[in-house]
C-alpha cells in the first residue's frame, strides 16, 4: 500500500466503503487532499461528507459499529493500518467541531492542554501566545487568560478551539462545519482566519454553505446521496478546483445542486 504520493498530496483518502453497523454510509469516494490548500466538502444532508472528514483522523473510531474499508494514506502510512495508533493520528491531524467545545478551564489552559499532552518542554507562555495569535484571538483575550474558556462568545470560543488545535502544530486541520453555530460576523472572521491558516497548515472543511466553499476552498469535493441501493448511501460525485467546479461542473447532479434544484 505504500505507494509514493504525488508531491503536493499530503493525504490520499480512499473511502471505498464506510459502515455504521449494517448501514452503508459512504461508498467509492476518493478524495486527495493537497498540501497548504483548503479542501471544501459540500453536499446535501446525509451525503457522508462529515463521515469522510471524521474518518481522516479516526474520530469515527469512537462510534459503535463504525467500519472503514479503503485507505487513507498520510505520508507513507495508511492511517487505517492495524499498526497505527489512532491517538497518534489525532495528534498530527487536529480537529475543530461544529459546536465550539472549549474545555471547562481557563483560556490559557485550553491552549496549553495539547502542549501538556505532548510534554512540551519549551516556553509555554510564548507558545500559547503564538497559538492565540494564530487563532486571531490574542488581542481580545490577552488581559483575561485566566478566565474560563466558556465565558467567551460563540465566535471567540470557536477561535479558541482553533488556537487550541494549532498550538501543537498539527499538519492537517479538519473543520466540521465550524461556522454553522456562529453569526455572520464571526463566520467572516473564521473564514479570514482559515485563509491565513493554510499558509502553515492543510485545511479540510465541511460546509453547508456553498458561498463559504467558494470564498475559502481551493478545491471542492461534492458529495451526494444515493438512494438506489435501498439505503441512504453517500458518495463523491466530483471533485475539482473550486472555480472549475462552480463554473463548469461535469456532472448533471452537481449542476442541479449548485443551481439549488435540490438540497
Amino acid at each position: 500500500m505504500n505507494t509514493l504520493l504525488q508531491d503536493d498530496i499530503i493525504l490520499d483518502c480512499r473511502a471505498d466503503k464506510i459502515f455504521y453497523s449494517d448501514f452503508l454510509a459512504v461508498r467509492d469516494s476518493h478524495v486527495p487532499i493537497r498540501k497548504n490548500q483548503i479542501t471544501g466538502f459540500i453536499g446535501p444532508s446525509g451525503c457522508g461528507k462529515s463521515t469522510v472528514l471524521r474518518s481522516i483522523n479516526r474520530m469515527n473510531d469512537l462510534i459503535r459499529g463504525f467500519k472503514f474499508f479503503g485507505s487513507i494514506q498520510f505520508h507513507t502510512m495508511d492511517i487505517y493500518n492495524k499498526k497505527v495508533d489512532p491517538v497518534a493520528v489525532r495528534r498530527n491531524i487536529g480537529m475543530v467541531f461544529q459546536q465550539p467545545n472549549p474545555f471547562a478551564m481557563s483560556i490559557y489552559e485550553n491552549v496549553a492542554f495539547g502542549l501538556r499532552l505532548n510534554r512540551f518542554k519549551g516556553d509555554m507562555d510564548n507558545q500559547v501566545e503564538k497559538a492565540l495569535r494564530g487563532g486571531a484571538l490574542w488581542d481580545e483575550v490577552k488581559d483575561k487568560l485566566k478566565k474560563s474558556g466558556l465565558s467567551l462568545s460563540g465566535g471567540q470560543q470557536q477561535r479558541l478551539c482553533i488556537a487550541r488545535a494549532i498550538a501543537t502544530e498539527p499538519q492537517v486541520l479538519l473543520m466540521d462545519e465550524p461556522c454553522s453555530a456562529l453569526d455572520p460576523i464571526a463566520t467572516r472572521q473564521i473564514e479570514e482566519l482559515m485563509l491565513k491558516l493554510k499558509e502553515r497548515f492543510t485545511v479540510c472543511i465541511v460546509t453547508h454553505n456553498m458561498q463559504q466553499a467558494q470564498r475559502v476552498a481551493d478545491q471542492t469535493a461534492f458529495f451526494s446521496v444515493d438512494l438506489s441501493i435501498g439505503g441512504r448511501t453517500g458518495y463523491l460525485v466530483e471533485m475539482a478546483a473550486t472555480k472549475e467546479l462552480f463554473s463548469n461542473p461535469q456532472e448533471q447532479l452537481t449542476k442541479e445542486y449548485l443551481h439549488g434544484d435540490f438540497s
Binding site: 459503535r64 491517538v87 467541531f97 467545545n101 474545555f103 471547562a104
Partner: protein, 294 residues
C-alpha cells in the same frame, strides 16, 4: 358602565369576579395544594423540635468528650465513643466504596457501556440500592464476623460499604455520562488517549456530581442501625477497631429501651446529633452540587 350596558359594542368586562364558581374552585384548589406543601414540612420540623426539646439540654462539651454512663450512673456521661465509632465506620466504608465505585462507574459509563459485564453490574447495583439494610448486616456478619471471630468496627464498615456502593456507583456513572459528548470529542480530537481524556477532562467535570453522590451515601450510611447490630453491636468503651464498636444509631436503639433516665436523655441527645450530622451532610452536598452549574 351602566350607560353602555346594552350597547352591542360594549367592551368585555375584564375585572376580577371573585365570587364566581370558577374563581372559587380555583381558590379552593390552590389552598389545598398549599396546605399539602406545608404538611410535607411538618415531619421534619416536628422531629427537629422534639429532638431539641428532649435532647437539647444535654448538648454540652461533656456529651462530645465523655464515655457513656453505666445504667447505675444517674447523671453525666457522653456519647464520644459513638460519634467516633460512627465516623470511623463510615470512613472505612467510604475508603472501600469511593475508589471501587468510581472506577466501576468509569467502566460502566465509558469503556464498556453495552458490555455484558456492565449490564449485569448496572442491574445488580440497581437491585442492591433497594437492598434491605438488615440483609447487608447479615451478609457482613457472615463474611466478617464469623471469619474474624468477633464483632468489630471493620465488620461494621464493610456492612455500610455494601449499602453505600450502589449509590456511589450509580450517581458516578450518571454524572460521568452527563459530561457533554462534545467535551469528550474535544479531548480525543486533541489526541488524548482514553485515560487522558478521562483524567484530564471528564473526571474534573464530573467531580462535583461524584462528590454529591458520595456525601449522600455517607449521610444515609451514618444513620443505619440494622447492619451495625450484626457487625459492630455496641460498646461502652473508647474505639478499639478490633472489638465491638459503638455508633450513634445503635446507641439510640439501645438506650431508648433503658430504664435509666440518664441513658434515655442521652438517646435523645444522640438522635439530635445524628440528625444535625445528616442535615450538615445534605447541605454540603447541595452546596457542592450548586457549584457544578457554573
Amino acid at each position: 358602565m351602566n350607560e353602555t350596558k346594552n350597547d352591542l359594542l360594549q367592551l368585555p368586562n375584564l375585572e376580577r369576579q371573585p365570587f364566581e364558581p370558577r374563581a372559587l374552585k380555583s381558590i379552593l384548589l390552590s389552598t389545598i395544594t398549599i396546605i399539602c406543601a406545608v404538611l410535607a414540612c411538618v415531619p421534619l420540623f416536628s422531629v427537629l423540635v422534639m429532638l431539641i426539646y428532649r435532647g437539647g439540654s444535654r448538648i454540652s462539651l461533656e456529651l462530645f468528650t465523655a464515655l457513656p454512663p453505666t445504667a447505675f450512673q444517674f447523671d453525666g456521661g457522653g456519647i464520644s465513643n459513638a460519634i467516633i465509632g460512627t465516623l470511623f465506620m463510615v470512613g472505612i466504608a467510604a475508603l472501600i466504596t469511593i475508589p471501587f465505585g468510581v472506577l466501576a462507574a468509569i467502566y460502566l459509563a465509558e469503556l464498556g457501556p453495552y458490555s455484558k459485564v456492565a449490564t449485569i453490574a448496572r442491574f445488580s447495583a440497581k437491585t442492591m440500592s433497594g437492598l434491605p439494610s438488615i440483609i447487608a448486616g447479615v451478609f457482613a456478619y457472615a463474611i466478617m464476623v464469623i471469619t474474624m471471630g468477633g464483632y468489630s468496627a471493620w465488620a461494621g464498615g464493610v456492612a455500610l460499604a455494601v449499602l453505600m456502593l450502589p449509590t456511589i456507583l450509580l450517581t458516578a456513572e450518571e454524572t460521568i455520562k452527563m459530561v457533554p459528548k462534545r467535551m469528550k470529542e474535544a479531548a480525543f480530537g486533541m489526541g488524548c488517549t482514553p485515560s487522558q481524556s478521562m483524567t484530564k477532562v471528564v473526571l474534573p467535570m464530573a467531580l462535583p456530581g461524584i462528590i454529591t453522590g458520595v456525601v449522600l451515601a455517607v449521610a444515609r450510611a451514618a444513620g443505619e442501625t440494622a447492619p451495625l447490630l450484626f457487625t459492630a453491636i455496641f460498646s461502652e468503651y473508647a474505639l478499639e477497631p478490633n472489638d465491638p464498636t459503638a455508633s450513634l444509631a445503635v446507641l439510640i436503639y439501645n438506650y431508648s429501651n433503658s430504664t435509666s433516665e440518664n441513658q434515655l436523655e442521652l438517646a435523645w441527645a444522640a438522635s439530635l446529633v445524628l440528625v444535625v450530622l445528616v442535615f450538615i451532610l445534605n447541605m454540603v452536598s447541595r452546596w457542592i452540587g450548586s457549584r457544578t452549574r457554573k
